[in-house]
Assembly symmetry: C2
Homo-oligomer: 419 residues x 2
């Protein structure tokens, strides 16, 4: 089964909103073996919507839209697609009732705003998809030939909930008995370039990727290697992926830190828990990003104590115990300062692991000796201290992201050496 | 002028990569008055690429692609589009030379990898677009009827650089003398729902949006109101936008915190600088996100000292001086604890402003009294302390994002009251 996704909203064409909905749908559909054949983004205009959805229906007969179901005048998805199917709109009493109930349950003041009633307009013959996470219901519209459009709201949280509750069960039911699947497998690497990885992999004598495609996906986390099997029986797809993955991992060696969607922060947390250790962070140029990454993971409180954001050098001295002599001799961006920060935060917060970052994120502050992108890292694991100096590429945001990733990787390697 | 954007890569259809390139191009093109008419994402296959680019050329005659120019076997953009134009590929000596020079300048070991030479394949009659930020050059290909495709690499940093250096100057040159533009204006609000805003705006008697469209864009930062003028002369567009913006701002009242792309963190930093104040943060459930937002802004070091990530309660006591009696009487998630955290971090780091966040981000940890999403904030400005308790919606990530935003908003309002 192939599906097309059409995301709707002027804000997508103006670039003020990043299209995370399209990516989420693609990921969820791939899990149930459905390939997104094409993704399209169009503006809020009724004609544009009808044109893009009509083209997609002609190509695949199965379309998911997001956006344009809200309570305001720029929300035209339902009338545009109803017209495409030759259907009129009517006000659905059960939707009006659900909107009123939700308004009351939330304890919001006054009556349901009139604008919200637009959300109760439903094309004749459509199925209403209940929205357990917001006010705009979704719509499933199908013609006599079995061609269908599922309309979901554009607010990502609502769209994700409805995808799980309403959309995927319907698609799974249609797929029952389909013999082939789309499966993929990702090997995550960090600290090696795309070209160098490619050369290592080309040199592999035994790599068999028949029936598979191999993609290199570089980003600030590193380079992901993604193998994809399409149009194969499930067992065959899994066997070929497993057969090819081993040599790929071997080629990338200790640059491999995980698989699939693994987050390096989650892997470090798991390593800390296994070893019974607690971590504290000391951050200068990243200003809290490393702490934020570690605490983004539910349940991180059993391995993360907290940290010190030592953005100003005074804070490095007063809160972390970095010596003024060290700052004067080596500068704030130095392995020496990073080591004192790591040990300082470990001791002061009573942790077993301290990890520190200090660097020049840019755009200003670079010097000939320490250009923008120069970042020093240190980790202190129960008194054993390691430090690294790196030259990271990218703008300020990317240097900071790469810094947090490299600090986590240093801790990962030290934990691996313990076990 | 209308342009279509085609982003290329299996990873976009599998949803493992969010399409930030399409959004960036749309934003940059809107700045020069060009409207993106449609965005399409297709996989790495040559047929898919040719089909999507061919359709887009038929509709608008002007297409920008990203992705598929790399050194690996899944990079088929150039051969697919060359075939669409009926052109052969040749190895371009100047590109080979540039690749070899870049390899040497970087001090990388050995010879240029063979895989990199694929990047020197250029369609006959094409213009090579130099890549100052990476190895894959871009391509500008045009037919006898003036229809063109600009191919840019998929790595966001390289794509952004080439968009500025190579693409926009060419498009500006083509636009010289075009009489109409696309202009937009955004009013940023926070702390008010989309429906409530819509009702306030519908009630405005004097709002004149003739020739304009008004979009409501809700997100974790708040709800943006975007007015867009299309197909008008520049002066007319600007005048209508300015005329409509005043009443919109009035309707949203003190929920307005900025305009355009304004970031609340940057606005708070500017307020601190104006008042000659320095800030320190104390974070529990956000784990460093607030510090990361403030320090994301270049030059933040003149107003941000740092902070304490007090994820574990012991750290709240030892590093921030929160009283054990307060934690026992009111709990870690309480306005009382938040107030002691704010004052503690202000005093210990020697700042003039302390701001604190403590809450239940979920998915676990909620209680009947303090369900997931309960977050307490406090700010201490030179000894004057204000605190707020809020119920925030969304998953763990969104609750944390909304928490950092609400904490910044508390500081913004206190700074505004000072002046």
């Amino acid at each position: 089964m192939h599906i097309e996704v059409v995301t709707i909203g002027d804000e997508l064409l103006l670039g003020f909103t990043i299209d995370t909905n399209g990516a989420h749908l693609a990921r969820e559909l791939a899990q149930v073996g459905v390939m997104v054949a094409r993704r399209t983004s169009v503006g809020d205009g009724a004609e544009e919507i009808a044109s893009a959805v009509g083209d997609a229906l002609d190509r695949t007969g199965a379309v998911i839209t997001t956006g344009g179901l809200g309570p305001t005048s720029d929300d035209l998805t339902k009338p545009a697609i109803a017209a495409l199917f030759g259907r009129a709109l009517h006000e659905d009493a059960s939707v009006v009732e659900a909107l009123r109930r939700r308004w009351k349950e939330r304890g919001w003041a006054g009556e349901l705003p009139v604008s919200n009633l637009q959300q109760a307009q439903v094309p004749d013959g459509a199925v209403v998809l209940a929205n357990g996470h917001g006010s705009a219901p979704g719509i499933w519209l199908e013609d006599a030939r079995g061609r269908w459009v599922a309309m979901l709201p554009g607010v990502p949280r609502e769209m994700r909930g409805m995808c799980a509750d309403q959309l995927l069960p319907r698609i799974r039911a249609r797929l029952a008995g389909t013999p082939t699947v789309v499966r993929s497998l990702t090997v995550r690497t960090t600290g090696i370039s795309e070209s160098a990885l490619s050369d290592r992999i080309r040199a592999l004598a035994g790599l068999d990727v028949e029936g598979l495609t191999l993609a290199y996906l570089p980003g600030w986390e590193g380079v992901d290697l993604r193998l994809t099997a399409r149009g194969l029986a499930p067992d065959d797809a899994d066997a070929r992926l497993a057969h090819a993955a081993g040599p790929l991992r071997g080629a990338a060696g200790d640059h491999v830190y995980g698989a699939g969607n693994d987050d390096l922060a989650a892997i470090v947390l798991a390593g800390l828990r296994t070893a019974g250790l607690h971590i504290a962070v000391a951050e200068s140029c990243t200003g809290g990003m490393l702490g934020a990454r570690l605490t983004a993971i539910p349940g991180s409180s059993n391995a993360v104590l907290g940290g010190i954001i030592a953005y100003h050098d005074d804070v490095k001295v007063t809160q972390l115990g970095v010596r003024v002599a060290t700052l004067e001799a080596h500068g704030a961006v130095s392995e020496e300062t990073a080591r004192e920060m790591a040990t300082g935060v470990r001791v002061r917060l009573g942790a077993s692991v301290g990890v520190a970052i200090t660097g020049v994120a840019g755009p200003d502050g670079g010097t000939p000796d320490k250009p923008v992108g120069t970042v020093c890292f240190a980790a202190d694991v129960d008194g054993t201290v390691r430090s690294v100096r790196a030259s990271l590429v990218g703008d300020r945001h990317e240097v900071r992201q790469r810094s947090a990733q490299a600090a986590l990787n240093l801790v990962r390697r030290m934990l691996a050496a313990l076990s």
